[in-house]
């Protein structure tokens, strides 16, 4: 039985296979009844719009159906049931489970108790492999992954999408540039691990100093709740805002990505620029998640 829990579990080859499959799907080369008669369980213990809807859409496009747990309050978790028991029970209803949970490692635990494949759709500040795969897929649409310079801007301490992405990028000899507010830097352990794996990680005080060296700028949301008051949040947030003026003189193939939802970190005027790829990135989630479902359910 195949699970997709962490980007660490997928080697470069397996990532390549999923991205190739997603590319084929996007060019309409797939069987729309590949998962006919199969049922996917969507267990989301945290709010989600894109991930939840795109897994549902991916399943429907492959001819399958899905069951969705509406809310934690309406489930047996509210009565104190363990996740392990919930997973054992739901395993009896569906052919695969997509899980989002606030605790790190929840998907790994689920894979130990499930009798059907489990896909991690985000576990706390931990891993979010489907987001990482669609990030890589979107970059690969514009340029080869090997040897590029990727800037990570925003909250790199708590942002799981950034953690997952850095692991994946380290497989491709990528140079990582980090631009973060004080206190929201990449966790020290993670930065050391990346460097030990041979990945160059360069920290910058401001985005202007490195923007012209970058091939990709990956922007993440600066979480308001991490700041003691609104004033200190706005002060930091405004200094990390991506504007059309900031992007003048960037490389020809340069692109801007964001896992969304965005708040103030990208000026809406950037949406009109050809380098703005975050909405395509989001749409790519369907093909990538279809490829993931095919990988574990067939």
């Amino acid at each position: 039985m195949r699970h997709i829990i962490s980007i660490r579990d997928l080697g470069k080859e397996e990532i390549g296979r999923i991205l190739d499959e997603a590319a084929a799907i996007q060019s309409r080369s797939y069987d729309p009844s590949a998962l006919k008669g199969k049922l996917l369980g969507l267990l989301f213990f945290e709010p989600s719009t894109r991930t939840r809807m795109s897994f549902a859409a991916a399943m429907a496009r492959l001819g399958g159906n899905f069951l969705s747990m509406d809310s934690v309050e309406a489930s047996s978790m509210a009565k104190g049931e363990t996740l392990a028991d919930t997973i054992r029970v739901v395993s009896g209803y569906v052919d695969a489970i997509v899980l989002r949970h606030p605790k790190e490692g929840a998907a790994r635990l689920a894979s130990e108790f499930a009798t059907v494949p489990v896909i991690n759709a985000g576990d706390g500040a931990g891993q979010h492999p489907s987001q990482t795969l669609l990030d890589l897929f979107t970059i690969r649409q514009s340029m080869p992954l090997e040897g590029i310079h990727v800037g990570l801007l925003g909250d790199l301490r708590y942002g799981r999408t950034a953690h997952s992405l850095t692991h994946a990028l380290s497989l491709y000899n990528v140079t990582i540039h980090t631009i973060t507010p004080k206190g929201l830097e990449l966790p020290a352990g993670l930065a050391t691990e990346l460097r030990d794996a041979g990945t160059e990680v360069i920290e910058h005080g401001d985005i202007a100093s490195c923007i012209r060296d970058l091939d990709v700028l990956y922007v993440t949301r600066i979480q308001r709740e991490r700041f003691p008051d609104a004033a200190s949040y706005f002060k930091v947030a405004s200094s990390y805002r991506v504007t059309p003026e900031l992007l003048t003189g960037t490389k020809n193939h340069f692109i801007v990505l964001h896992p969304l939802p965005r708040l103030d970190e990208i000026d809406p005027r950037v949406d009109e620029l050809p380098c703005a790829r975050y909405f395509e990135q989001s749409a790519n989630g369907i093909a990538v998640r279809m490829a993931m479902l095919l990988r574990v359910m067939t």
């Binding site: 962490s6 660490r8 363990t82 996740l83 392990a84 949970h101 606030p102 605790k103 790190e104 490692g105 929840a106 790994r108 635990l109 130990e112 576990d123 706390g124 500040a125 931990g126 891993q127 352990g189 691990e193 030990d196």
Partner: protein
């Protein structure tokens, strides 16, 4: 005179008839070794502990003797986490029946608590903590947290 000499050269702790002697424990780690193999104040084993004993091999060392209990291989290997030079002597009828070193296991289950408060292993789920033993340290199987130093303080 003979008695005086005997007293000066006397044994720090008496030999045991049957059981296990854990020798060459890193000085100061004897009590942690007992914790790691599940011997606490509430268990019934008869134990002798010597700490900071001179050792030709490692300078100073601790020694633990456990009466009437032969440690199993998986128990012995846990000790390697905090005392990699320890040697284990299984004693039968006052003689060393078997002697072996400790080997660092691939996984450490149910011994070390994950320091990450957000880790699922720190909840009421029916699982034991599990760490993969890697070159850099211990990596939590669930949340990927890496413990690189002071493993002792994370022992349950």
């Amino acid at each position: 005179m003979t008695r005086e000499k005997d007293a000066r050269a006397g044994l720090l702790i008496s030999p045991i008839e049957n059981g296990t002697v854990i020798d060459h424990i890193t000085a100061g780690e004897a009590l942690n070794v007992l914790r790691i193999i599940g011997i606490t104040g509430t268990t019934h084993e008869s134990i002798s502990v010597a700490t900071n004993v001179e050792s030709k091999k490692i300078g100073t060392k601790d020694i633990v003797k456990i009466k009437n209990r032969e440690l199993r291989k998986e128990e012995v290997d846990r000790i390697a986490l905090i005392a990699p030079k320890a040697s284990i002597n299984i004693i039968r009828n006052y003689k060393v029946w078997d002697k072996k070193g400790v080997e660092i296991p691939d996984r450490v289950v149910g011994i070390v608590r994950c320091p990450n408060p957000g880790c699922i292993s720190n909840t009421n789920e029916p699982i034991q903590s599990c760490f993969l033993v890697q070159k850099k340290g211990l990596r939590c199987l669930y949340c990927d947290w890496l413990i690189t130093k002071d493993i002792t303080s994370h022992i349950m």
